[in-house]
């Protein structure tokens, strides 16, 4: 029975680095190739040795698909393609292809800054990797090879995020990547058609959460920023170059405009400007509101937000600064933090995840005395706030997507085991489909029932309609013919046509059966008795007694002889023919 196999190397019962292997109809696809930022050795990358066991990577894998530009989904890609040695096709959407290298470069810069970092990709490797990427449009069916095709659907979450349908013949898998079922300030909601895949692989970050309204969190954020600025404090918002930064910028820009605020807002690096450039370039990927107002005013051309210069950090008075990197572990954001940390009027707002060991992680866990550079103690008096704006589908959203796509099976990834367990039960109850949640390294096998298309010859159809009623879609009809498997296709034709096409002669087979009956009478008397009996029971058939002593029932021939050893036993030889071409052997060999 055909099967689909799924093995997560990452994101199996965790929210680490996504990397999922799918085998479908003999094709092998890698979904996402993420990095874990919590490690500074090889543990940050998925363990690809499990793939290299199967021979050369490029021979084994048919393609790699990247769902969006976040590093936990694409961070290992240059390592995989330039250092491990994968040289096959890589697919992602156009915005992802444009933005991915910015984030990879951003991360490389702060990584190589550190001492003892080895086995990490270079700038040239990022470029070489991106040059291998094939960019795809939404809803464009891309033929990876003759059998394998992929198609991207809008996923919300971040600019360019996509869900991918992977299809081989009539078998298909949909991988959601990260998605968001509710539109936010700059992106729309995820959407997929009723594609009824054999398997839907969905993220489940917020598997058990019905998230509070994002508006509430936004109001809260604006209130905190406003209050700090009003009392003359400075607000530091450490961000990664792309994603959250743009959302918060739109939020602040609109608020500043509405409230007519004067305090300056700054970006700390040129990176974010480039990001804004891409948001403008890929305006069609943003939500309807942004697209509609684009003609009057591009939402990403900010009036209040200016580029930051290092000198500004010492300026008196309130200000808001977006600075990279987002975990306060190096560069500008850390330098500004050091300057402002001692003043209780100031505030730092952390809008994202911070790995252990970073200043961001320490202050979020409540530590207020930080040992900087091994000696100096930095006392953190400024307010520390954590505000999550990550755009994932919540439990309701996940159920909605399943309803929309109508998959035959569901597989959960990118979530915590306990929460997945809860959602799994809910999905199985509500949709009556199997739901799986493999751990990393575990293979889930799903059996599929593929429908196989068969062409029917016109002659056969005409013959069938001539002898029966006209075809009716609601009433299936039994049809007889000969199935020919040739050149990877199936055709149903009449037996005569099959013989003709394959150049075969018709053969007749005669089957004979011996029936022993106890009858001491002479042979012709036995025959007569049988004849009379058959005549009586087979009234609708032509039963004849031939001059040579044999009986025929239609084409069946019956003869009687005495048993050679026991004259009291008569042997009836019943023989009939069956018309058949010797097709099987030959056809199956050709297949």
């Amino acid at each position: 029975m055909p099967e689909i196999k799924v093995t997560p190397l990452g994101a199996g019962q965790d929210v680490g680095r996504s990397c999922i292997l799918v085998s479908i109809a003999g094709k092998n696809v890698m979904l996402d190739c993420g990095m874990h930022m919590g490690y500074n050795d090889d543990r940050r990358f998925p363990d690809f040795s499990y793939i290299t066991q199967n021979g050369r990577l490029t021979d084994f894998l048919d393609c790699v698909i990247i769902s969006h530009f976040h590093l936990d989904h694409c961070g290992a890609l240059p390592y995989f393609s330039e250092m491990v040695g994968y040289d096959g096709p890589i697919y992602m959407t156009h915005p992802t292809k444009a933005i991915c290298p910015i984030l990879l470069e951003d991360y490389r810069k702060i990584t190589v800054d550190k001492k003892g970092e080895t086995n990490f990709f270079t700038s040239q490797m990022i470029k070489d990797c991106m040059k291998k990427v094939v960019a795809v449009h939404l809803h464009q069916t891309v033929q990876v090879d003759e059998e394998l095709e992929i198609k991207a659907y809008y996923a919300g979450h971040v600019l360019g995020a996509a869900m991918f349908q992977i299809k081989v013949g009539c078998e298909s898998v949909v991988y959601t990547g990260d998605y968001n079922m509710t539109p936010d300030r700059h992106l729309g909601a995820a959407w997929i058609d009723k594609c009824r895949p054999d398997l839907l692989i969905t993220e489940s970050t917020y598997a058990t959460t019905i998230r509070d309204s994002k508006r509430c969190r936004e109001r809260d954020f604006l209130k905190k920023v406003h209050e700090t600025v009003e009392r003359g404090g400075k607000v530091l918002i450490p961000v990664f170059a792309l994603g959250r930064a743009q959302e918060l910028c739109i939020l602040l820009e609109t608020f500043w405009e509405r409230m007519n605020l004067k305090a300056p807002i700054y970006f700390s690096t040129g990176l974010t400007e480039k990001a804004n450039h891409y948001y403008k370039l890929f305006i069609t990927w943003t939500n309807q509101k942004i697209r509609k107002t684009f003609v009057q005013r591009n939402m990403f051309e900010f009036k209040h937000i200016k580029a930051f210069d290092r000198a500004f950090a010492d300026n008196p008075g309130p200000m808001v600064v977006f600075a990279t990197p987002g975990m306060l572990h190096a560069g500008q954001s850390l330098q500004i933090f050091r300057k402002w940390a001692g003043n209780e009027k100031n505030m730092v707002i952390m809008p994202g995840y911070c790995v252990q060991g970073t200043v961001g992680h320490k202050i979020l866990s409540g530590q207020r005395k930080l040992e900087m550079e091994g000696r100096q103690i930095l006392e953190v008096k400024m307010q520390v706030e954590y505000m999550s704006f990550s755009a994932h589908a919540d439990a309701k959203g996940i159920m909605q997507l399943i309803r929309q796509a109508e998959p035959r099976n569901v597989l959960l990834v990118h979530g915590e085991a306990k929460k997945m367990e809860f959602l799994k039960q809910k999905i199985e109850q509500e949709f009556h489909v199997n739901c799986y949640m493999p751990a990393n390294g575990e293979t889930t096998t799903i059996f599929t029932n593929p429908s196989i298309p068969v062409d029917i010859s016109l002659g056969l159809l005409k013959r069938e309609t001539a002898i029966g009623l006209l075809p009716d879609a609601k009433k299936p009809k039994l049809m007889h013919g000969t199935l020919i498997m040739k050149d990877n296709s199936f055709r149903l034709v009449s037996p005569e046509q099959a013989l003709k096409e394959l150049g075969l002669a018709e053969h007749q087979l005669r089957f004979t059966c011996r029936v022993h009956i106890q009858d001491p009478r002479k042979e012709h008397e036995t025959v007569l008795r049988v004849y009379n009996h058959l005549k009586g029971v087979l009234k609708d058939y032509s039963v004849q007694h031939l001059p040579d002593g044999s009986i025929t029932v239609e084409s069946i021939l019956i003869q009687a002889t005495a048993h050679s050893e026991d004259q009291g036993t008569k042997v009836l030889l019943v023989s009939w023919t069956y018309q058949v071409g010797i097709l099987e052997d030959i056809h199956f060999n050709q297949f």
């Binding site: 965790d14 680490g16 874990h36 930022m37 919590g38 490690y39 500074n40 543990r43 499990y50 021979g55 050369r56 490029t58 021979d59 590093l71 936990d72 040289d87 096959g88 290298p101 470069e105 810069k109 800054d113 550190k114 001492k115 700038s123 470029k127 040059k131 291998k132 970050t205 959460t209 690096t269 040129g270 400007e273 290092r310 000198a311 010492d314 190096a330 560069g331 850390l334 330098q335 994202g352 995840y353 790995v355 252990q356 060991g357 970073t358 320490k362 979020l364 866990s365 409540g366 040992e371 550079e373 091994g374 954590y386 999550s388 990550s390 751990a439 990393n440 390294g441 575990e442 293979t443």
Partner: protein
């Protein structure tokens, strides 16, 4: 520090550890981040190296309390339980600690039948993984080995070989190899021989298990045992492995022809690992006979990895080598024969040694043709990259076959023979094969080939470069192959006459012109990289220079300095930097250079990019070009160079990209070395040594120049840069300057003096130490430091303790705090925090 350089547990950590253990074992606390647990294990591995662990356990009773507490939990968190098992394994790796845990009756509860393996927690793969890892860490001595083998643990490991988790299954396989090696290695006293196999108890159990599995009807059991043997022979080359093998050889051999097992891939791996082990080389020929048999029986796809491995071996019978070569070359031979009937040239193989029918049928099937060729070509590329290959490959025929494949792939060749026609139909437009063939072609450029095929090679490559159907990735590989072939031929004498050489080069530049205008940035970028590569290697050849300069390529390259894509701008900058060597640096008599190539214009353009380009790549590329020019002394006379460096430094001083600044610091470093060289300071190995250079500041020409060029301002400001590598580099340069200018040692400091009113040297030093922002530096228009005053700078160099600053900068080059104390504090700090914080992801 311990003698081994490892750090023992500090008092601060010892104080924190009990609370951390208590928090981890407390089910009410939210689960700790897995990365924290991993880092704790790393720390304990280091501790184990630093001090005997029984001391560790006695000094820190919280550890055993932690084990007990976790084991007592009715439903422990899988990640905490897994951590506990792994930690216990690390601790128990030392025998007396193992004994200590046994006395406390903890071992059976951790790794024995009373432990997690008989609980519901075992369902979780991370717990099984933790158990296997824990056992692996622990079994480093006889007591642990005995504990596992006699307590039923070995059967658990046998079962885990077939675990649904790949990670657990492969860890179990590695563990069995470890146990077997340890058991035989430490328990065997008398050398074994094939007839008298008295294996130690544990080894005996494992070997019996392998034998039983191999004799079973279960394909999965057979595969597990074959994998185990593969792993064993790959990691252990002790003589006893041969004895082990002799007992199993017959059975394993039978799987070669056993289709139901489907273990051919593993068998190929197994035989290759054995072939690499000298132990099997003298098995009276039986092993090599088996290898030969494998090469014969396995399909070409299965045997090819084995063949390529064999061909790399230096010790291998010639007959096996020929067999392996046959396997590898057969597809290529088949291609040649299919393409040219009758074969005009020598084929790759003597037909008598091989039966090509299997390969022919694979090549004529759509589903297998591309895979077989890609694999073969990749293996050939691998072999060609080996420096001392113990076998001679027929390079000319190979080259011809690779060229033929490339001709098939773009429809240049459609042979009449049925097989050739079929293959060409399958291959036309096949990118996978195109890429593999181009890689192999590039690799072949290092080998000597006859010139008959070289002409058609360039035709094919040009066809690929020209074809609109060539994808960007294929084009990049075509460029690579083209440049390697152009460079590989000494004196570019690959054509019969100069005209032909010029014609080819003209064709190359013609197609390059077209590609430089491609709408696809990947193509423009690859074209520029190709150009740079050519100039770098062929700039001394007249034909090359003339063909290049008479084409539109230089002009188009200049245009690409304005490309919308930053990667392309950066590549254009690099290409322009190299073009300069041809257009004006080293070719005074170049007839075509003329006035159209203006050095000043190029420098001005690059400086504009350096100061205005919004992205880092082009700016970094400019810095690399400037550094390259300066290294090759292309920046003109001293004054010109001084002015040039000064301008670059001023432009870069405020750059937001630290790598640009680092590039500039490298430029400064080279400039300084040049100056010292010029003025005779000993840094330059060729310079005469002068002892009286620093006698007078006023006569110290380099110092005057550095001050005039405003280098000190840049260097001192860089010391305070928020990006550490910049500070480190600046400090290195300043230290070098100090050692040049201040003949006295660094400890021989002069007393602090006032640099100017209100700002003494203490202030400057303090400012630097604190790493304050650059803006705290006074400017020279007020009462601040005059960075252009030689006396002040000498004073600053003498007074600032650069050595200490250098140590500080190097000590904490990492902002992510890695110390165990910080780790423990972080774990404790998260105790009781709202779960909301860790729910978010990137």
């Amino acid at each position: 520090m311990s003698p081994r350089g490892r750090r023992a547990m500090s008092r601060a950590c010892a104080r924190l550890l009990p609370r951390v253990c208590a928090a981890l074992a407390d089910p009410r606390q939210p689960g700790s981040d897995d990365t924290c647990l991993e880092k704790m294990l790393d720390w304990f591995r280091e501790l184990r190296e630093a001090e005997p662990t029984v001391k560790l356990l006695r000094d820190n009773p919280c550890l055993t309390e932690f084990f007990t507490a976790v084991l007592a939990l009715p439903e422990p968190e899988p990640n905490v339980l897994s951590f506990t098992l792994r930690l216990a394994g690390i601790v128990a790796a030392v025998e007396d600690s193992f004994m200590h845990l046994q006395q406390l009756e903890l071992l059976a509860r951790l790794f024995g039948e009373d432990g997690p393996l008989n609980s519901a927690a075992w369902e979780d793969a991370s717990v099984r993984s933790g158990w296997v890892e824990g056992v692996h860490s622990m079994v480093q001595h006889q007591s642990a080995l005995h504990f596992i083998c006699s307590g039923g643990g070995i059967d658990v490991i046998f079962t885990l070989q077939g675990d649904p988790s790949l990670f657990v299954a492969s860890a179990a396989c590695r563990l069995l190899v470890h146990l077997l090696t340890l058991s035989v290695g430490s328990e065997l006293t008398v050398p074994l021989n094939a007839k008298d196999c008295d294996w130690p108890a544990c080894a005996h159990m494992i070997i019996r298990h392998i034998e039983e599995s191999l004799q079973s009807n279960s394909a999965s059991h057979i595969k597990q045992s074959l994998k185990l043997l593969t792993s064993l022979f790959g990691s252990c080359q002790a003589p006893w492995t041969k004895v082990l093998w002799l007992g199993m050889a017959k059975q394993v051999e039978s799987f070669l022809t056993e289709d139901s097992v489907q273990a051919q891939h593993i068998l190929a791996d197994l035989l290759l690992n054995m072939a690499r082990s000298p132990v099997f080389h003298d098995t009276e020929g039986s092993f090599w006979a088996l290898v030969t048999s494998a090469l014969e029986h396995l399909t070409p796809v299965q045997s090819s990895p084995l063949a390529v491995g064999i061909l790399r071996l230096h010790r291998c019978p010639q007959v096996v080598r020929i067999k392996a070569l046959t396997v590898l070359l057969q597809p290529m031979d088949c291609i040649l024969r299919a393409a040219f009937q009758p074969l005009e040239y020598a084929g790759l193989l003597d037909e008598s040694v091989s039966d090509p029918s299997a390969v022919e049928s694979l090549l004529s099937s759509k589903s297998s043709c591309a895979s077989l060729l890609c694999q073969t070509l990749a293996h050939l590329e691998e072999l060609l990259s080996v420096v001392f290959l113990p076998v001679n490959l027929p390079y000319a025929s190979l080259l011809r076959s690779v060229v033929t494949i490339l001709q098939f792939c773009n429809g240049l060749l459609i042979p009449a023979s049925p097989l050739g026609s079929k293959i060409s139909q399958i291959l036309v437009g096949c990118f996978r094969v195109q890429k593999s063939a181009l890689d192999a072609l590039a690799a072949l450029s290092d080998r000597k080939c006859s010139d008959t095929v070289v002409g058609s090679l360039f035709d094919v490559l040009l066809a690929y470069l020209e074809s609109p159907n060539t994808t960007p990735t294929v084009l990049k590989k075509s460029f690579k192959a083209m440049s390697k072939w152009l460079m590989s031929l000494p004196g570019m004498s690959f054509f019969k006459n100069q005209q032909q050489t010029e014609k080819t080069l003209q064709d190359v530049f013609l197609v390059l012109q077209k590609r430089l205008c491609s709408p696809c940035w990947e193509v423009r970028d690859s074209s520029l990289e190709f150009l740079t590569n050519l100039i770098r290697n062929l700039r001394d050849h007249d034909e090359f220079r003339q063909s290049l300069l008479s084409s539109e390529v230089p002009k188009l390259t200049e245009n690409l300095l304005e490309d919308p894509e930053s990667y392309v701008r950066a590549s254009a900058v690099t290409a322009m930097g190299h073009l300069a060597f041809i257009t004006y640096f080293f070719v005074p008599e170049s007839p075509v250079a003329g006035n159209q190539y203006n050095k000043e214009k190029t420098v001005a353009k690059l400086q504009e990019i350096l100061s205005t380009d919004p992205e880092g790549f082009p700016r970094r590329a400019v810095m690399n070009v400037f550094t390259m020019w300066l290294k090759e002394s292309c920046t003109g006379q001293l004054e010109e160079t001084e002015q040039f460096v000064s301008t670059v430094v001023q432009t870069t001083a405020h750059d937001l990209d630290w790598e640009v600044k680092l590039g500039c610091l490298e430029l400064v470093q080279i400039f300084c070395n040049h100056m010292f060289c010029r003025f005779g300071l000993p840094e330059c190995p060729y310079a005469p040594i002068s002892s009286a250079v620093t006698s007078s500041i006023c006569q110290n020409e380099p110092l005057q120049i550095f001050c005039r060029a405003n280098l000190f301002s840049f260097l001192f400001r860089s010391l305070c840069d928020c990006d550490k590598p910049v500070g480190q580099k600046a400090c290195d340069i300043l230290l070098a300057l100090k050692s040049h200018f201040c003949q006295s040692s660094t400890t021989d400091l002069q007393g602090p003096g006032d640099l100017s009113a209100g700002h003494g040297i203490h202030w400057l030093q303090g400012t630097l130490r604190q790493g304050s922002l650059v803006q705290n530096f006074p400017t020279d228009d007020g009462n601040g430091v005059d960075f252009q005053d030689p006396e002040s700078m000498m004073l600053a160099l003498r007074t600032i303790d650069l050595v200490e600053l250098h140590n500080d900068l190097n000590k904490c080059s990492d902002y992510v705090e890695k110390s165990p104390q910080s780790l423990l504090e972080d774990i404790l700090a998260t105790v009781g925090t709202a779960e909301e914080n860790e729910a978010d992801c990137y």
